[in-house]
């Protein structure tokens, strides 16, 4: 073979390459993901979509730490019912009313709410187009999405007050900047979503689907929204629609015992699970309340004021009520807490008293059940029947039905053995004050999203308006002196969010 022959062939190869190599080489398929074009076509897709919407209840990133150490702390630490461990950085600035706009807790709350809203918006837009499934089921799933969207906006409007109202899943990266709506518009949307949900949701689900939003949950939440809006008549009517439809757990502690979750008192709970077959749905809440002495992290403590209030909650015989023993671990011969060993044992206060940093601890959610390792899958209550009864009582009192209000309170007290109230001994203002600063905190202390939002609505409303600073000061909340009334009532709009959305206006004072 002549070398010129080789040379010509070589050049041919080279030229062929330059001109014949097509762009097909650059066209690859994504073998790991479905796309929007291939999704939202089957019933399974609809169920997966609504599952993802529920998942945002646990936070935007799936991390239970984000939920309990960023979001929970942000919402709970400002309340007068608890005090934080100052050596822990989580929520520390929030608790001392010295936070700026960079603290990550409020951002995580913001992001989680909008993650839920974004997923709900996808379900609301896409599920009605899935023609292969029954219309009734499609409507129900859309109803669930609306319920969840309302819940997320409820957190936003109470936490931040001035928030963008996003009702459509925007896919164009250039159209993501939305300005804030008025709080009235947001509240109106919450009411509308809950009213729609109320129509679409079933009264109950089969066992394997427990945890999804029911019609009762929508009604209870709608009643709560009316209460926050001081629409007393509508609130009373809505609460009465579910009065008697649920019942209190026989024991106060049952509410925090993961073996009995989604029970008769449960109206809506954030679901967690010790089942690790697929993904990890456990959380560390049980560590966070426990003292170091029983292997806890003691992030939070009951405030001295709360303990004092608890100690007023006695039976006819003058003993502490069951809800006191069920809420706090304190210096009392009968006070006990589960340790975290496997198997767990009940530890008496006296046996660890010398090892404790502080005199009083919470013990709600500190149960050794549904565990995987030391973490638990205990659900966290969003709204339970005792709360509904107390809200109904508050509503009745404002509607001047004092005796009926006292009856509802006594239903709750009776379950814990607390001596009943006498309607004749109280006037309207006294009963309002009792509900606000004894019944609700003693029954619902430290529970998810209760106390701080209560303080906010009483400060923001017109009925029996109470400035938060005054309440905090009266209840010896640490750092109450740092509290600035028209500032710390709201979280700042997260600095990170304003940095990418110049349409947002920062809240007063930040």
């Amino acid at each position: 073979m002549k070398s010129t022959h080789i040379i010509i062939r070589t050049l041919l190869v080279f030229i062929t390459c330059l001109f014949a190599c097509s762009d097909d080489y650059l066209q690859l398929e994504d073998k790991q993901n479905l796309t929007e074009q291939t999704f939202w076509t089957t019933r399974q897709h609809a169920l997966q979509g609504i599952t993802a919407t529920y998942a945002a209840l646990q936070g935007h990133d799936g991390s239970k730490w984000t939920f309990f150490e960023e979001i929970y702390t942000s919402l709970a630490y400002k309340g007068d019912d608890l005090d934080n461990n100052k050596n822990e950085p989580y929520g520390k600035n929030i608790a001392s009313f010295s936070n700026g706009t960079e603290d990550t807790g409020p951002w995580n709350l913001w992001a989680s709410c909008y993650a839920g809203i974004g997923r709900a918006n996808q379900v609301i837009e896409k599920v009605p187009t899935i023609s292969v499934m029954p219309a009734e089921e499609r409507n129900q799933i859309v109803g669930e999405a609306k319920f969840l969207r309302a819940y997320q906006y409820f957190l936003l409007v109470n936490g931040f007050e001035h928030v963008p109202l996003v009702l459509k899943f925007e896919k164009n990266i250039n159209n993501l900047q939305v300005s804030q709506s008025s709080p009235e518009e947001v509240w109106a949307q919450i009411e509308k979503d809950l009213q729609d949900a109320e129509q679409a949701l079933p009264a109950s689900y089969p066992d394997e689907m427990k945890g999804r939003a029911t019609q009762g949950a929508a009604k209870a939440f709608l009643g709560k929204v009316y209460l926050f809006r001081e629409k007393w008549a509508q609130a009373e009517a809505k609460f009465k629609e579910i009065y008697g439809q649920y019942s209190l757990n026989p024991e106060f502690e049952n509410n925090f015992d993961s073996r009995l979750e989604n029970g008769p008192e449960s109206i809506f709970e954030i679901q967690f699970s010790g089942d690790r077959t697929l993904s990890d749905e456990r959380h560390p809440f049980n560590f966070e309340v426990r003292p170091y002495a029983v292997d806890g992290w003691e992030l939070i403590y009951p405030s001295d004021w709360l303990v004092a209030e608890m100690k007023k909650d006695t039976t006819v015989a003058g003993q502490f009520s069951k809800r006191v023993y069920g809420s706090i671990f304190f210096n009392d011969p009968q006070s006990e807490i589960w340790d975290l060993n496997i198997p767990a044992k009940l530890v008496k206060y006296s046996s660890v008293a010398v090892d404790l940093n502080r005199p009083n601890y919470f013990k709600k959610y500190a149960y050794p059940y549904d565990r995987g390792g030391a973490y638990t899958g205990a659900n966290v209550s969003v709204i339970r029947y005792a709360d509904v009864l107390l809200m109904l009582a508050e509503t009745l009192n404002e509607n001047n039905k004092l005796a009926e209000a006292v009856d509802r309170i006594n239903e709750v007290r009776a379950r814990s053995g607390t001596a009943p109230l006498k309607a004749s001994a109280l006037n309207k203002d006294q009963l309002r004050d009792l509900i606000r600063h004894h019944e609700r905190p003693v029954e619902l202390a430290m529970e998810w999203c209760i106390r701080w939002f209560d303080l906010v609505r009483w400060a923001r409303g017109t009925t029996g308006k109470q400035a938060i600073k005054a309440t905090l000061t009266a209840h010896n909340k640490p750092f109450a002196a740092n509290y600035v009334e028209d500032k710390h009532l709201r979280f700042p709009i997260p600095g990170k969010e304003i940095a990418v959305n110049p349409q947002l206006k920062q809240n007063t004072g930040y």
């Binding site: 190869v13 839920g116 974004g118 010790g274 077959t277 340790d339 090892d355 600095g495 969010e497």
Partner: protein, 1026 residues
Amino acid sequence: MFRYTIFLFLGLLLMSLGNLLAHPPLPDWVIRGTVTDVAGLPIKDANVTVKNNNLGTSTDAEGHFSLKVPENSTLVISSTGYKTLEQKLSNAEPLFIVLESAVVGLDEFVVVGYGTQRKSDVTSAISNVNVKNLEKQPAANIGTLLQGQAPGVIVSTGSGNPAGNPVVLVRGMNSINNDRPLYVVDGIPLGYVNDLNPSDIESVNILKDASAATIYGAQAAGGVILITTKKGKSGEPRINYNSYVSTHSLNQNIDLLDKAQMNQVVKAAFANDGGTAPPFYLDDSKYANTNWRDAYFKNGVEQKHDIDVSAGGEKMNYRISWGHWEHTGTIINSGSKRDNLRLNSEIKLLKNRLKVSPILAYTRFNNKDFGDVLGDGNAGFSNIMNVYATLPHKSIYDPATANGYAKPESILGSGNPVGERNLSTNRTIDDYFQANLSAELNLFAGLSYTFSLGKTIQNTFGYSQTAAYDFGPQSLVENPSRFESRGRSEYLVFNHLLNYDQKFGQHNLKALAGFSRQKDHFQGTSGGGNHLSSPLIEALSGLIVDGTADFIRAGGWNVSNTLQSYFGRLNYNYNDKYYLQGSVRRDGSSRFGSENRYGTFYSASAGWALHRESFFKAAWISELKPRVSYGIVGNQNISNFQYLAKIYIRSNDPLLNYPFGSSASQSVAVGAAAIALANDNIKWEQTATFNAGLSFGLLENKLTGSFDFFRSNTSDMLAETPIPTSSGITFLPITNVADMQNTGWELTTTYRKSSTGGINFDVTANLSHSQNKIIRLGYEEGNIVDGFVDFNNRATTLTQKGLPLASFNLFQTAGLFSSQAEIDAYKNKDGDLLQPDAKPGDLRFVDVNQDGALDDSDKVIMGNALPSLDFGLTFNASYKNFDFSLFLNGKQGQKMYNGARMFLYRQFRSTELLNAWTSANASSEVFRLSNDDLNQNLRVSDYFLEDASFVRLRNLQLGYTFPQKLVGKMALSKLRVYAGAFNLLTFTKYQGFDPDLSNNGIFSRGVDRGFYPLSKSFIAGINVGF
């Protein structure tokens, strides 16, 4: 097409076998000789070739050679640094050849993209690393070797982890996305070189400006490091053996409190808050007094053995090398091993018109893992800090337990770091296989064609197996568990190059045209579960599920990407005085949507050899060459399919999953939704660089060097872009979000002195500086806050328009309050105290903006972690049989946030706390002890920001080469022994482990979370030639 090319080359190979078998006529004379310098010292590795023939050999360590040659030939003897000599042979007598020192450097070749260039022809900014200096620094990886050796290449140790890789930056930070250089090994672009044995390296050249790097287009934005590996030398087979052993002790310069001291400090802290310390701090006589650090760390031993055989003849040369490196680790149950095998060969065919060079390389890594917490975002403290924080009150061992390790008393909290580490095994076993084939065919009239193909296969395997243990609820493994993962990556590159090189009178022309394709395909599988039926089983088949707390999970990956490129380069010079170069590359990438798939990159440069002008009279200047260049390179380093609207679904990720059901342990449903946005506008990131430089040589090139100034503008940087989370999207999209500018200069200079019979030495100094600035970051007010030192809390860095990347943004302190009166006087105009929670001894924070309140707006920009000056100084000297080398490197002007110190304050472990402020110790600068820290002394402030400038004696080595007479009796050709020390001395004010341990996160650079400390090592080694 591709298959066709393969057939063609198989054909060429077969055809040429005939040529291989047909020997040329046997030469007649056997010539022996010795080559020395003017001082009479032997010159090793000098090339001895026969003029107009392909015969040749090279000299051994004693300067001896032996070669069969045709009668009356002319020998050409050459060696780097010496003038080439031609010797006409008239008989076969032994020769004594003396080579004169040459004006160094001008005729050396440097490797450039897809070829080589005479050093004197270079018009762009290329650093040529002196491999001889590298050989004096035995090290396991290339990054470490490059430290301080080339101006403009900033290498940070990264971590003291022996299996870790350093952070290499070419010309500082160019981008907020990919700032890592592209490595090109023997012409094949690769993203890494950690599989390469440094002993196999022949040359390292760094392409720094766009004019040099444009030929690598879209992959070149972070600079390009070109590495060639050693080839066979002509002559009889020769064997070299090199080995060293070194001992490593960690630099544990941070002192920790023992139990009694800690008790004292904690008691004082609680007392200051008006409380009482937890009971276990109260009685010094109770509990253990464990030094966890001593139990967790150990002294390590590193050893490396390299052996190679090389030989060459007229038609073929080869080099086979084997290297073994191992390090026992400086942490218990850790360590690393690497084995390298490499065959480089070259076959000449078709009457030397075709040169075929196959390369085969295989690398095996065995690693007992130790993970460090590097990177941006929500990163916690490192495992090292967890060991440092472990209470001395805890015991390590307890013979009464099943595994022998102590479970801490409940009150002391969970955890036993020594037990946890020893009961858990983490291993990775990775194989790297590389096959390169290149063929160069001389066509006609200066035209040649080169085909090269590179195939890299990586098989990675990792597993972790943990025995059941219970060190308290937070350190509980209920059952033995096992996880495994396997990955398989196949990477294929091929290049077709057409080269033209011709001289027309005084006009010298070189041209290159090329086409290249590369494809990367990764597939992986992971699986595992938390319940092995027995700890004796070490296979996933032994996993069981016994109840809902147990799981067996699987995961997997399947991704690929492709790049298709056309490129060309034109070099022209007139009379070796005026130089011009232009390059262009057009890249198409699968990572972009069809609209923006292609990017074109170009560059132009010019140089002027001033010293060759007739009017240039300064005799003491031997070289003076100003040069200037401008060009554009790109960056495409993002993950695939950013342009698609993806739906996320992962069964083992809690992100979108949610439990439903009535039982306590509800079963988990899998969720799916869009959680990221598609960005079909995404396109290339581009860096435009202007470079002006001057190469110089003085005093017959005894003093040589170069200076370069550069300014680069990176636009449309590809990075994760914060978007409003009100969109419901928390996964940040990658967009072309930002522009930045990087400016700097670099200087390198070498002085060589040789004298007859006396001391020979050379000194090389490298200096470089770079500074970056963000020009645009998203929206007008856009910023990125990062550098968290305490999980998601305590952000230390800010990146925004007008600032350097990751600038420290911290509160400013003004000493301690010495009295309550001072605190009371520190108030705003309304009379409110600025620090109402302060007590005497607390830090005073400055109300910088004087708005009467302390808040985030009072934070001040306080520099960043990039050095303003990076320098290296290498000194080599030899006297008779002794040689000595010393290498200093340093960085000036870099800041570090000592998060480790903050952590050890918070955990009451730092010995500085013994000197905390009290009214009796009022001169102390350490703020008062407090557990509640109501004043937030631990907030991010300049208190913990430190100057991390340093000068380090990195290498000190003394060697002795045995005289040839002695060595000859041992049947050796060479024997050298040496001893030295690494990291012997560091001069710094930085109080953390090390000022050079850099976080590899772009937005967290300089945030020290307490990484793996650096080792100090002593080394002894031997070089033997057989």
